[in-house]
């Protein structure tokens, strides 16, 4: 057991630290400016060799051990840089369920950032109960025609592609009639409706209305009816701090709060330090366990709860240090309230832990 970097890891960390020093201040880290420039940040990280660390080389990754993502997140936090783009869950979904042809066509652009992606899962009537989704995909020759309404679609306005769930068999049992598609976002039949979040951010979330948009049948991911399995892969990874890289955000903010504090920190900030350290070490443990080939299961829901408590503790620390008068800190606090909803609510995570780990079924 060793928490220290191996010589290779240390060399990687040094190289990364040097590059981050050169980039200092070049990319905005919060608010609409962050979302507006996120694509540039993604491409810069990838071009410098610091993104897609554990993914296959064939698709633009580096095939490094999973713990390299810990180093990336730690150094991003230390440098005060933006967090890495959180699209590992889409890579996992397409990588595990897509054909080799689809993987070769779409993964490289997803990983290097030359093509932007969004995820079309949730609907106004299908939130926690995702399997009740009603967006339809109807076969018409070599294409499917889409009708429906997606919501909470991050970066939909800048996305080139959407990994979309739609019902292809209205008569099948509800989990079995869903298929997944790769849909081009720039086409007639797709209407974007922005959503302004309570923090004031307008560039992150969107709504997507599909009214006769089309998708080639060969851009279905997996077989007809395999959409639910893909969705479970995606949301499983969407719950893992090791996939999302959010620890960088928390570490950066805690450092900023400490820099603004004279003397003994307020108790909220001390707790934020404790929680942020816990999560950083938890991610190290989880990524080490992946060396045993530990698969992604319901444990991701435990990680999501820990991540949520950490973010919301940091949010309270931001309020304690800055009050409501500091726009950036107020934004950080308001944004933290979304963490117990996005990617599956805390209540859903607790249901999963109770049923699938603790065996507390009905």
């Amino acid at each position: 057991m060793d928490f220290r970097d191996s010589p290779e890891e240390a060399a990687f960390r040094d190289r990364l630290r040097g590059w981050l020093t050169e980039q200092a201040g070049a990319f905005p880290t919060s608010g609409d400016e962050y979302w507006a420039r996120q694509g540039d940040w993604h491409r810069a990280l990838h071009a410098a060799g610091f993104f897609g660390l554990s993914w296959p080389k064939a698709y633009g990754g580096h095939e490094l051990p999973p713990v390299y993502d810990v180093i990336l997140d730690e150094e991003l936090a230390r440098a005060g840089a933006p967090a890495r783009p959180s699209l590992g869950y889409l890579v996992q979904g397409l990588g595990r369920h897509g054909s080799e042809e689809l993987r070769r066509r779409f993964l490289p652009g997803m990983i290097d950032g030359t093509e932007r992606w969004c995820q079309g899962f949730s609907e106004p009537g299908a939130g926690s109960d995702l399997a009740s989704l009603t967006t339809s995909a109807t076969r018409d020759g070599d294409t499917y025609v889409l009708h429906g309404h997606k919501i909470w679609t991050s970066y939909s306005d800048v996305a080139d592609w959407c990994l979309l769930l739609a019902r292809t068999d209205p008569d099948a049992p509800r989990h079995k009639g869903i298929s997944a598609f790769i849909v081009a976002m720039d086409q007639p039949g797709i209407e974007q409706r922005p959503l302004k979040m309570m923090s004031g951010v307008t560039k992150e979330f969107g709504q997507v209305v599909l009214d006769g948009a089309t998708v080639p049948a060969d851009q279905m991911v997996g077989a007809p009816g395999e959409g639910w399995a893909l969705a479970m892969t995606v949301v499983g990874h969407e719950r893992e701090p090791s996939t999302l890289g959010f620890t960088a955000r928390y570490g950066k903010l805690v450092r900023e709060l400490l820099a603004r504090t004279d003397g003994t920190p307020p108790p909220e900030l001390s707790w934020a330090i404790v929680e942020t350290e816990m999560l950083r070490l938890h991610v190290r443990r989880r990524l080490s366990e992946q060396l045993d080939g530990v698969s992604h299961g319901p444990e991701g829901s435990l990680d999501k709860l820990l991540m949520t408590w950490t973010e919301q503790t940091v949010g309270h620390a931001a309020l304690a240090v800055g009050g409501t008068g500091d726009p950036d800190l107020l934004h950080a606090y308001l944004y933290s309230r979304a963490q117990s909803v996005m990617g599956g609510t805390s209540q859903i995570q607790k249901n999963i832990v109770a049923a699938r780990i603790l065996g507390l079924g009905a």
Partner: protein, 297 residues
Amino acid sequence: MDVRLTAEQRQLRDAAARLANDLGPGAVLDLDDADRIARLEKAVEATGWRALRSDGASGVEVALVVEEFGRGLVDVPLLGPVLADDLAPGASSATVAVAGAARDARGMRQAVEPEGGRVLATEVGPLTSGVDLTRRDAELRGNREQIATLTDEAAVRWRTLALVATSADLLGTARGAHALAVDYAKIREQYGRTIGSYQAVAHLLAEGLALIEGSISVLRHAAWAVDELPPDEALHAARIAKLYCARAARTVCETAVQVHGGIGNTWECLAHVRLRRALASAELFPVRLEEIDRGLS
């Protein structure tokens, strides 16, 4: 970077778990079973684990054994003797003295403590009653005698080990309390269903498991740091672990009392025995939030 336990460490943990399962108290009545305690004492003494540190064991190994003994409510000394052995290797039948009392002192003859560059030893007097029903304090008797000297760095290392060991006991205690509550939630029925099938109960237990997972992660780093990081960094890691594990354990033990309902508030339920042990381990070598006055690693 690879923070998995080694095969040897997993074997040690499993051996400690077996011993605790076999001879630890399975019910409140067992706490008064002198025959069981005598067999447990003999078994623990035979393992040599009270001298883990002078046998060259790392902080990680100490933490694993202490954790399993906490989970199994082992009610003969381990934590105290391990800390005494680290402070004064070779001192026989020794536990630690803290704030004028011998701790974890059942059957121990002397208590050692650090003070201003010296290690002092005192004879252990009669056992006293306290919050913890499984590890007993005792009075100190006679004069304190210097038996060794201690560098500042060694004193900080020892304090770090003490924080790690008490954190490990807290984690084990939380795991034991959580398992007790989950088992009960699966058999107790109300309104014709097991209470664990209700979200109101299930969510408390899910939160408890997340707190335990966080405790494992933070403790493992602190336990490793005892021997591997510079003293001030290791102490910082141990303080973070102690704060996290103490809060988590108290919450999980309180949940165990709540899930047991009325029974959980009675003397005969083991939930309060675990809660009491958690309170004692939090209070022994306490950490205040104000001590977290520096940033992230």
